[in-house]
Amino acid sequence: MHKPFTDKPIQRIGEDGRKIGRWTLDLTEDQLRTMHRDMVRARVFDEKLVTILRQGKTSFYAQSSGMEGTQVGLAHAVRPGHDWIWPYYRDQGLAIGLGVSVRDLLAQCLGTSEDLCRARQMPHHFGVRNYNFVSISSSIANQVAPATGTAMAQQYLGTDEITVCTFGDGATSEGDWHAGLNMAGVAKAPIMFVCENNQWAISVDFKGQTASTNIAVKAHAYGMPGYYVDGNDVLAVHSVVSEVAERMRAGEGPALVECLTYRIGSHSNADADAEKQYRSREEVELWRSRDPITRFERFLAAEGLSVDAAAIRAAAQREVEDAITATEATGTPGWDVMFEDVYEDVPAHIALQREYVRAEQEA
């Protein structure tokens, strides 16, 4: 049993890849390999997206490089398409780990005809119904109270599903974050709040965000356990999340899990040049050297499990390239999708506006 409210982040493996403490591995070789592959796929997805961003194929992207331990560890500990996820915008590794196809993700980033969100949303804001991966809102922390509501519905309906709600460190300052946790505590709803603490919210560091020693301690105030986890240790994240999810399914109520990690890339492409004004290269390099993928590879090697990292990378690159080609071939949606899905039907005043644009387009 993992303990809540530890002073140090919970770890399973050290930087050198060796086990910390005594525990037995409850993952199959196959599961370990998939976990590793998904981390690499997420990293490659970032690299490719940054490239196509430079080519002007998409206009916005926020890398999750450095955070794969948190996102993939979490993804592999929930039941895809069964449990519900209220994610935030930097969760591509979570989506990939759950099994969402890279092609679906790319269709959204490129706004092609097969984009499930119909090219209405800013790139990199996914929403995938068949994975219960709820549409991402840019507005920080406004997924938190809705996630509590989803968990209350699961409780009401008597399902064995749980809800996972992710967010950054910055999000924990919003009033809605506190409102959502408080209500979940009162309702004892089956929800896991997962803070992907990458230590920066654009240019504001952790100390500028909160005077708390960490995020996990805030759980105290809402009557739920708070786990402080090394987010660059994929096995620690997986282990804590699995255990908490299990207890939640048994009716133990909500929990907060803080995964301490780091954003290696810029906040988004819009921040790429400004970054040097607020954080030092040394700090970035230090955290780059604590790469969660390398650490996991060291562990796999120590366990005698060899992975062909180069081949996995190459396959991941092909996967993304093929998905780009395939989704681009579907073209882009017409102007008229703009007028749909505002409501269930198209009310008369919007229909008139659509006719107005049609006349313009046909002129």
Partner: protein, 339 residues
């Protein structure tokens, strides 16, 4: 009211700078902070980062962290703290990173800032400025493109301003800082860097509540504000080449709005085209249209017409179709002129 607020004051200093809109905003804050110790500036990423659009660039370096600081990521805290500071005698300028993110601070804006003077019988006031970039045209999808001015215009107690030129941006922001009422200062981000103009380096204000006549004309009045103004001027120029004389009125202030300037203009031209990029339904221009028809029914030669955004959330890929550009304005103008 200070003498400065009574009228646009000519400036004693001779120096002028060639500035774009965001540089003018930066200069306005710099000058107000130099003039008045009570002015403090805060928001998300406004310190070392200089704001995500760089509106506050260099201000923390000049005034220090005591007067220019980053806040935790919470718009309710930003606006709420601004209210409390203003009540206690400071002149806070609060930056909300995008107008689309005013939501978490909405209650503080409409329940505290807007009403504290009224509900306290004038004993307490909240002289604060909320600066925020708004409007579309930057491929930002619905969370980085909205034009929410009507929500705030609909709330008595708030002044609502949106400049469209660097000169006005500086003068209006300075007037906003000196205003004893809370001012929501929308910055049309798509024209932050669109063009430069000469801006006096010294002190002047542009009075809140006064429109500007950008072009004089006799056949048609175009009324607008903010990001659509450059297109409105293009339309006026295009029509001029065809022998049509268009008067262009830039509201600059939405609350209070300059009825007199608008009504005088439409009384003269008999035709009014109201342009904005906010969604059509409950658009502030509906109020302008209502006033024109009520006051000038006999003088009108054509129905009052609007070009606005559509009644959909701001779309991402269809951004260009959504935004009312010069062509849409030209067609609407042609229709009015055909009556």
């Amino acid at each position: 009211m200070t003498a400065l607020q009574d009228k646009e004051t000519a400036v004693s200093t001779s120096a002028t700078l060639s500035l774009n809109l965001i540089q003018a905003i930066n200069l306005a804050m710099r000058e107000e902070m130099r003039l008045d110790e009570r002015v403090v500036l805060f928001g998300e990423d406004v310190g070392a980062r200089g704001g995500v659009f760089l509106a506050t660039e260099g201000l923390q370096a000049e005034f220090g962290r005591r007067r220019v600081f980053d806040t935790p990521l919470s718009e309710a805290s930003i606006v709420g703290a601004a209210v409390g500071m203003a009540v206690r005698g400071l002149r806070p300028i609060a930056e909300i990173q995008f107008a689309d993110y005013m939501g978490p601070g909405f209650d503080q804006i409409v329940s505290q800032a807007a009403k504290i003077r009224y509900r306290s019988g004038g004993q307490f006031t909240a002289p604060l400025v909320i600066r925020t970039p708004s409007g579309g045209g930057v491929r930002g999808g619905h969370h980085h493109s909205q034009s929410p001015e009507a929500y705030y215009a609909h709330t008595p107690g708030l002044k609502v301003v949106m400049p469209s030129t660097p000169y006005d941006a500086k003068g209006l922001l300075k007037a906003a800082v000196r205003s004893d009422d809370p001012v929501i200062f929308f910055e049309p981000k798509r024209i932050y860097r669109a063009f430069k103009e000469d801006v006096p380096e010294g002190d002047y204000v542009v009075e809140l509540g006064r429109a500007a006549v950008r072009r004089e004309g006799a056949d048609l009045t175009i009324v607008g504000y903010g990001g659509v103004m450059p297109d409105a001027l293009k339309v006026a120029d295009a029509l001029k080449a065809e022998g049509v004389s268009v008067e262009v009125v830039d509201l600059r202030s939405i609350v209070p709005w300059d009825r007199e300037t608008v009504l005088n203009s439409v009384a003269k031209t008999g035709r009014a085209l109201l342009v904005s990029e906010a969604p059509r339904t409950a658009n502030f221009m509906g109020e302008v249209a209502y006033t024109i028809q009520e006051e000038l029914f006999d003088a009108l030669l054509a129905p009052v017409s609007q070009v606005a955004g559509f009644d959909t959330p701001y779309p991402y890929a269809q951004d260009k179709v959504y935004l009312p550009g010069p062509n849409r304005m030209l067609r609407a103008a042609a229709k009015l002129l055909g009556y």
